[in-house]
């Protein structure tokens, strides 16, 4: 089975580290970006299968990045899972409207990431059950 790549976009190095550890445990190759602009550059170089996306970041935030990504050729392909402290219904609705596939409210753990990735078809059920 081919290893899928997940781009982790977060301005906090701690958050990126936690996400990397969880994603590697569930079998992903992980690349990182510190803001939306860096993330767009990474996507232009090569589109990942999954993107774990923070909302509030300097230079370009996650919401603007998502709009840019979905407008790119092939930009509808990656599954985008927001992962942010913004936990109100308005933010969630805006994110879904802009083309997010799932939404994680921080703090998060491996169970939540597995459940959400399973929800959008990035990992099989058996895998997340085994990791539970």
């Amino acid at each position: 089975m081919e290893v899928k790549t997940c781009l982790v976009v977060d301005d906090s190095s701690v958050a990126r580290k936690i996400a990397r550890r969880i994603l590697e445990e569930i079998g992903f190759n992980v690349i990182e970006a510190e803001d939306g602009e860096q993330a767009l550059e990474a996507c232009k170089a090569s589109l990942p299968e999954a993107i774990l996306l923070d909302w509030n970041m300097p230079v370009m935030d996650g919401y603007d990045f998502l709009g840019n990504l979905r407008g790119m050729p092939g930009g509808d392909q990656p599954k985008v899972v927001f992962c942010t402290t913004e936990n109100d219904i308005d933010h969630i609705s805006r994110a879904l409207h802009a083309g997010a596939n799932e939404y994680i409210m921080k703090p998060f753990d491996k169970d939540i990431v597995s459940a959400k990735f399973q929800e959008v078809g990035l990992i099989a059920e058996a895998m997340s059950a085994a990791s539970a």
């Binding site: 936990n87 109100d88 219904i89 969630i92 609705s93 879904l96 799932e102 939404y103 994680i104 409210m105 998060f108 169970d111 939540i112 459940a115 959400k116 929800e119 059920e125």
Partner: protein
């Protein structure tokens, strides 16, 4: 925890709830009962056991509740809900087309994630069920757990495990730090306290019974007896859904598995022939009622 205390708690739980702990579940007892001991102002489990021996009825039921409350989440295991959407409801829509009603029992409804997941499935089916009367009865041993289910309030953690974000947005409201399932879904579920060891024939007849991850705690005779009584209050063409680690195979032939759908069973029409050990069960029920 010392061995005599462990044996005392094992026997107490078996008598009061049918919970059948194997001899190596000390860690489970410790993790569940330490917080309870602390809440009661007791230094440890030894003191808790002493209080129970002195005959503290309130504390006894708290111990039973703490030990029988299971972790649950929305759409747990997924597969049973696929069965519900793809097989159970479509078939009942045909079979009950004239009376347009269906009754569903969640026999270990716990904190509500299972009954509300079923309610959301039904809502998502929309027009196909318009004009139908659907009852979901959620029962549980624990009153505390049922109160939580009735309130329909869940933490941010709880709503992120198994619940797709679209359904959260559609069917929940934010209440402070918590999320509450909408009133119209809460109204679809009725709650009753119930011990599966006791007679439950007063609940009426059901088209669907979800009885997941509760029978695993019972010994064989009790399981067989419960299957027999479940079969008696199920429509002859109804559906029984068991947990992933559970089966009727080798225990009873009152239900038969559906080969193509894991965890799904239907009555086999041999109900009258089987329901042994009821006398013993009634004795246990009487004890538990004291």
């Amino acid at each position: 925890m010392n061995q005599p205390d462990y044996e005392f708690l094992r026997k107490l739980l078996r008598d009061k709830s049918g919970l059948d702990l194997s001899s190596d579940k000390q860690y489970l007892i410790e993790s569940r009962l330490h917080p309870l001991a602390r809440k009661a102002g007791l230094p440890g489990l030894g003191e808790l056991v002493q209080k129970l021996k002195d005959g503290n009825g309130g504390l006894t039921s708290q111990v039973v509740e703490a030990m029988t409350t299971n972790e649950t989440f929305f759409f747990r295991d997924k597969v049973p809900f696929d069965h519900f959407r793809e097989a159970i409801v479509p078939e009942l829509l045909k079979a009950r087309a004239s009376r347009k009603s269906m009754r569903i029992w969640c026999a270990a409804g716990s904190t509500g994630q299972e009954p509300y997941s079923l309610a959301m499935c039904l809502k998502e089916m929309g027009a196909a069920l318009s004009g139908w009367r659907v009852e979901i009865i959620a029962t549980d041993l624990s009153q505390e757990v049922l109160e939580k289910s009735k309130a329909g309030l869940y933490s941010q953690f709880e709503v992120q495990r198994g619940l797709p974000i679209q359904l959260l947005v559609k069917y929940f409201k934010q209440v402070g730090e918590l999320w509450q399932i909408n009133a119209d879904l809460r109204a679809m579920v009725q709650h009753r306290q119930l011990n599966l060891l006791h007679d439950f024939s007063q609940l009426g007849t059901f088209d669907v019974i979800f009885c997941r991850n509760v029978l695993i705690y019972f010994d064989q005779d009790t399981k067989i007896n419960i299957f027999g009584r479940l079969a008696k209050l199920m429509e002859p063409d109804g559906f029984l859904v068991l947990g992933a680690a559970e089966t009727v195979v080798g225990l009873t032939d009152v239900f038969k598995p559906l080969a193509e759908r894991r965890g799904l069973y239907r009555p086999s029409g041999t109900v009258a022939a089987k329901a042994p050990a009821l006398g013993m069960l009634q004795k246990m029920a009487t004890m538990a009622a004291r």
